[in-house]
Structure formats: structure tokens, C-alpha cells
């Protein structure tokens, strides 16, 4: 009996571990989309953050510096999308996809430049177990903070106005383009923490493709969570649970590939079940022109 209880606790703990990067990415996605910009580039943000966090940690010996660098890198990638979406009015989905590919290639390229070896970096000073715990707790705290910011503060109201009807926001004196820009960038910094978690907390190195589509699962979490920080958190936990489940079920003799597919299938099913019934912010994905 206690063996079962122990296994359950382990599963829950692993759920938290697996969900945390998803939570950060999803929160970043929520903020971005609430302002009206679809951020498909979450995967690229995670990649850039994970990579630069490792590079900075290796260079300075300080994982904290690594975390900070990761956030800056994530925000920078987000800024490219933010600029392209607001000033250039490009198709946000196509641009986001391009960013993901850029980040993947850039990180692989950077691996060789910085560490002189392809595929993976060497091990670097990491945030360790205490760092993991802090980041997990911070994810929940950020969800609460984002909810408060979006639904209780003037800035949050302005962001939501830009996501619903940017022209009406402009008439009220809000700079819709600038509001969107910063929402995307801040969202990128938040999402970046997910990448930092992957490379400096859960592990202590960067390897090609380590983000493994988490940025896309996070997008499904945004939709599943109805563009609400708490909803996104819940959805991320849900998908994280399936990722954690794969380890428990592997011992039950189910082929590992099918288990690995669980979170992706879960995301797909959630999308199919929910997508038609929820409404994105009205101006989500639609460029605003003055």
C-alpha cells in the first residue's frame, strides 16, 4: 500500500517537473495572445533560452547568471517576433515558425562555436535541486501574478483591449503597437524561464532538440486553458502528467515510443475537443495597422 502511495507521490513529483517548462511557456503564450499576437515561436524561445543559459553559466561559472542570460535571450527572440508582428504586420504564425527554425539552427551552430562539439554541450554549473524547487514554485507564483496583472491592473486591461479591439484601444489613447510589443517581449522572458529550467535545473547541459516540441504543447495548453493564466497552468499540469506517466507505464511493458507520444496525443485530443468551443481574443493574430 505504501508502495503505491510512494509511486503516486513520485508520479506527482515528476508531473510537476515535466509540467514546469510547459507552465512558463504557456504563461508567456497567454500574455502574448491576450495582447493580440500569436506566438508560435515559443519553441524557439525555449531553445534560445536553454542554450544561452548554458553558455553564460559555462562562461561565468554562475548558474544565476546563466538564468539571467537565458531570460534575456528569450526576450530577444520574442522581440524579433514582436517587431515583425507590430511594425511590419507580418503573418505571425509563419514568422514564429521561422524563428523556431532559426533558433534550432543558431543553437546547433553555437554549440560548435562555443563548445567545439556538435550535438550537446559539456556539463555546466547548474541550479541543482534547490534551483529546481525554486523554479517550480516560481511558476505557480508567476501564474498568480500574471492573472492579477491581466485582470486587476490598468496595464492588463490595456493589454486585453489591444487583443480584442486595438482600434478601440487606440481611440482611448493606448498605443496598441507598443503595448503588443512589450506584452510579447515580457511573455518571452517568462517563457524563457522554461528553457532555463530544462538546461540548468532539470539537467545541466544543452543538447540539440532538448526542447522536444514543448513550445508547441504549451500552445495547446494556452488554448485548452482558454487564454487564462490559471487555465494554462492547469492545462500544462495535465500535459505534464502524461509526460510523467510514460515513465511509470514503461514498466508495464507498453512500448516506449507509444508512451513517449502520450503528451503529444493528449495535446491533440485536447485541441480537437476544445478548439471549436473556446474563443481566442478577438484580434488575436490579426496585425493592426494605423
Amino acid at each position: 500500500m505504501s508502495d503505491f502511495g510512494g509511486a503516486l507521490l513520485a508520479l506527482l513529483a515528476l508531473t510537476l517537473v515535466k509540467a514546469t517548462p510547459l507552465i512558463y511557456a504557456a504563461l508567456g503564450g497567454v500574455l502574448s495572445e491576450r495582447s493580440g499576437v500569436v506566438n508560435i515561436g515559443l519553441e524557439g524561445i525555449l531553445t534560445a533560452a536553454a542554450f544561452f543559459a548554458v553558455v553564460a553559466s559555462a562562461a561565468t561559472g554562475s548558474p544565476i547568471a546563466g538564468a539571467a542570460a537565458g531570460m534575456v535571450a528569450g526576450a530577444a527572440v520574442a522581440a524579433i517576433l514582436a517587431f515583425a508582428a507590430t511594425r511590419l504586420g507580418v503573418d505571425q504564425i509563419v514568422a514564429g515558425t521561422g524563428l523556431n527554425i532559426m533558433a534550432l539552427g543558431g543553437a546547433a551552430y553555437g554549440l560548435v562555436l562555443v563548445f567545439n562539439q556538435p550535438g550537446a554541450s559539456r556539463e555546466v554549473p547548474s541550479l541543482g535541486k534547490p534551483g529546481e524547487v525554486v523554479l517550480i514554485a516560481l511558476a505557480f507564483a508567476l501564474a498568480a501574478a500574471l492573472w492579477f496583472a491581466l485582470f486587476r491592473t490598468p496595464w492588463g486591461l490595456h493589454v486585453r483591449a489591444c487583443g480584442e479591439n486595438p482600434r478601440a484601444a487606440e481611440v482611448a489613447g493606448i498605443d496598441a503597437l507598443q503595448t503588443r510589443f512589450w506584452a510579447v517581449v515580457i511573455g518571452g522572458a517568462i517563457a524563457a524561464l522554461g528553457g532555463v529550467y530544462l538546461s540548468l535545473a532539470e539537467l545541466d547541459l544543452y543538447s540539440d532538440g532538448m526542447t522536444a516540441g514543448r513550445g508547441y504543447i504549451a500552445l495547446a495548453a494556452v488554448i485548452f486553458g482558454r487564454w487564462n493564466p490559471w487555465g494554462a497552468l492547469g492545462a500544462a499540469l495535465f500535459f505534464g502528467f502524461f509526460a510523467a506517466l510514460q515513465y511509470s507505464l514503461q514498466r508495464a511493458g507498453i512500448p516506449s515510443e507509444l508512451m513517449q507520444a502520450l503528451p503529444y496525443v493528449a495535446a491533440l485530443v485536447a485541441l480537437a475537443g476544445f478548439a471549436g468551443r473556446v474563443r481566442a481574443p478577438a484580434a488575436d493574430g490579426i496585425p493592426f495597422e494605423r
Binding site: I93, V94, A95, G98, A267, L268, A275, G276
Partner: protein
């Protein structure tokens, strides 16, 4: 035409500009770097054949992606569709007891159907549930690779198979070679023919007309009697089928077996190819050739000039961002 030219120039600018910058970061002179790239891609006949091979591998998914784009849909799942098409070819090519002239078309069609099924699944989810096809095709990519790995190692494991790959195809299932002593097969011609057919289909047929209308103005299309759900489904299925066909040709024409690594990201680079070609099949051929040069030259560039080949991926991503354009303005719409 003017727009295509401008986009092509932007792409070229990025390739040479950013490429040079990144090369300098690696302490390599751009002249050496690009020299190695072009020499490696076009230096002699066999290298040219290899470049055309890469061109073909890109052309198939790019045509499929362009078709989906025209219908207002974004197929990022070409990678998974290529894998499943290739897997089907790898399994059936060995398992079907048919003579050569029959075996090849049957297996090619089967590969296309596998890709079409996968793309159609995303199309169905979009048409029926309004599920965003970007996220669903991305999920399906990963699921496809895992599924293929499982199938060829488990239920469809064949005698003589290695780890994570199928046994070698019998010669009856090999595509005829176009240039002797190279890996370039008739798949190149198939791709060209397909491009021509799509060009015609887009601009002359009722199907192409309805597809483009649905992509441009869904509300007006709906009132004109166009079934948006069916269009979304057929566009995604056809898009997947074309990519799947590409995967099958890689297996039957190049590798002569299937392994899950048969596509080093063709499905993603093809997005850039489709955009640079302005979604016009004939221009896409040219764009595919340009990117084919990058792909095949990159290996030589790494070997001879010490420039990591991932720089090409970086450049390709940047091209996509630069050409994201105002054209598509994706709407969240249900059928």
C-alpha cells in the same frame, strides 16, 4: 512577378549577408565559406546530381505546403508526412511480391496515401473541430516519428532489418537512376511533372479556383457554395500526400531502405522554399534548386571550410521570418 523577384532578392541578401556574418564569427572568411559551399554543390557533375537530389527532396514537401497555403492552411507537418510515406515504401517495397513495373507505382501511391492520411487527419480535425492545424500538424510530426519507430521495430519488423530501419529494398523497388553513378533518380522528373500539374491545377481548374477562394476570402467562398470544411480537408490531405510521395521517393530512389532519419528537416526548410517561390509551383522549382544548393553545399562547407552546417538552418529560418509577409494573415476560423 515583381513581388517574387523582390522576395528572392531578400532571400539572397539574407543568405549572403547573414551567412557571411556567421562565417566570420567562426573565423572563416566568407569567400572561403561560400566558395566551399558552391563548389561542393555545383563543382562537378556528380555534385550537381547530388544538388538536384536535394532539390527533389525539398520540392515535394514545398509543393504540398504551397498547396495548403493557397487554401489558407499552414501545413507544418510535412516532416511527419515524409516519414510515414517513406516508412510505407520501406515496408511495402520489401513485402509486396509484385514485379518491378507494377511494384514501383503501387508503392509510390501507397506512400502518398500514407502521407495523405496523416495530412488528412489534421485537415479533419480542423474541419470538424476547428483545431488549429499548426499545432495539430506539429504534434502529428512527433507522433509520426514515434509511430514509425515503433512499427518498424515491432509489428512490422521484417527479417534482415537493422536497428530503427527496414531491410534493404529489393532492386525491383529501386527507382531508375537518372545520372549514372549518382543517387539522382527519376524522382526528380516526377517532382517536376508534379509541379507543372499543380501549376495548371491552381490556375485553370475548378478545384484550384475553389481552393484559392477559400484561402483568400472564406466568407465569400462559403456563400459561393464552396464547402470550407471539405476544402480544408482535401487541401491538407493532398498536401500530405505530396509530402508522403516525397518520402517514398527518398526511400526508393536514394536510401533504398527506410530509417527514421530520412529527412534532415526537409519538411521545415520546404516552408522557406514555398515562400520564396511565392506559392507558385514553377517558381518553387527554382527556389528548391537554390535551397538544394545550400543543403548539399553545406556538407562540403563543413568538411572543407570548417563552417558548421547548422548555419544553413539558421539562414533558412531567417528567410522564413523575412518573407512572412502580409500575404497570409492567418485567421482563426472554424469551417
Amino acid at each position: 512577378m515583381g513581388r517574387t523577384l523582390r522576395d528572392a532578392l531578400i532571400a539572397l541578401g539574407i543568405v549572403f549577408g547573414v551567412g557571411s556574418g556567421a562565417m566570420l564569427l567562426a573565423h572563416v572568411s566568407p569567400i572561403d565559406g561560400f566558395g566551399a559551399l558552391f563548389d561542393g554543390a555545383l563543382g562537378n557533375a556528380s555534385e550537381l546530381a547530388e544538388t538536384l537530389l536535394q532539390t527533389t527532396a525539398l520540392l515535394f514537401p514545398a509543393l504540398g505546403i504551397a498547396l495548403a497555403f493557397r487554401a489558407g492552411l499552414f501545413n507544418i507537418g510535412a516532416e511527419g508526412q515524409i516519414v510515414l510515406g517513406g516508412m510505407t515504401a520501406g515496408i511495402l517495397g520489401v513485402a509486396l511480391p509484385l514485379p518491378g513495373p507494377l511494384l514501383i507505382p503501387v508503392v509510390l501511391v501507397a506512400g502518398a496515401c500514407a502521407g495523405g492520411l496523416w495530412g488528412g487527419l489534421a485537415g479533419f480535425l480542423k474541419a470538424r473541430f476547428g483545431a488549429n492545424e499548426v499545432i495539430s500538424t506539429l504534434m502529428l510530426n512527433t507522433i509520426a516519428i514515434l509511430l514509425a519507430t515503433y512499427l518498424i521495430g515491432g509489428p512490422f519488423k521484417q527479417p534482415g532489418a537493422g536497428a530503427a530501419e527496414t531491410p534493404q529494398l529489393p532492386p525491383a523497388a529501386w527507382l531508375p537512376v537518372l545520372v549514372p553513378n549518382s543517387r539522382l533518380s527519376v524522382s526528380f522528373l516526377i517532382a517536376l511533372a508534379l509541379a507543372a500539374a499543380l501549376q495548371y491545377a491552381f490556375h485553370r481548374t475548378v478545384f484550384g479556383y475553389e481552393l484559392r477562394a477559400a484561402g483568400k476570402a472564406p466568407e465569400a467562398a462559403r456563400r459561393a457554395g464552396i464547402d470550407l470544411g471539405r476544402t480544408a480537408f482535401s487541401a491538407m490531405a493532398l498536401s500530405g500526400a505530396i509530402a508522403g510521395l516525397g518520402g517514398a521517393t527518398i526511400v526508393m530512389g536514394v536510401l533504398h531502405r527506410f530509417n527514421t532519419g530520412l529527412s534532415p528537416g526537409y519538411g521545415f526548410v520546404a516552408i522557406a522554399v514555398a515562400l520564396v517561390g511565392n506559392l507558385e509551383p514553377l517558381f518553387i522549382i527554382i527556389a528548391a534548386f537554390g535551397f538544394g544548393i545550400l543543403q548539399s553545399g553545406a556538407i562540403a562547407m563543413q568538411a572543407e571550410a570548417n563552417v558548421p552546417r547548422d548555419i544553413v538552418t539558421l539562414i533558412e529560418g531567417l528567410v522564413i521570418v523575412a518573407l512572412a509577409g502580409r500575404r497570409f494573415v492567418a485567421e482563426r476560423r472554424t469551417s
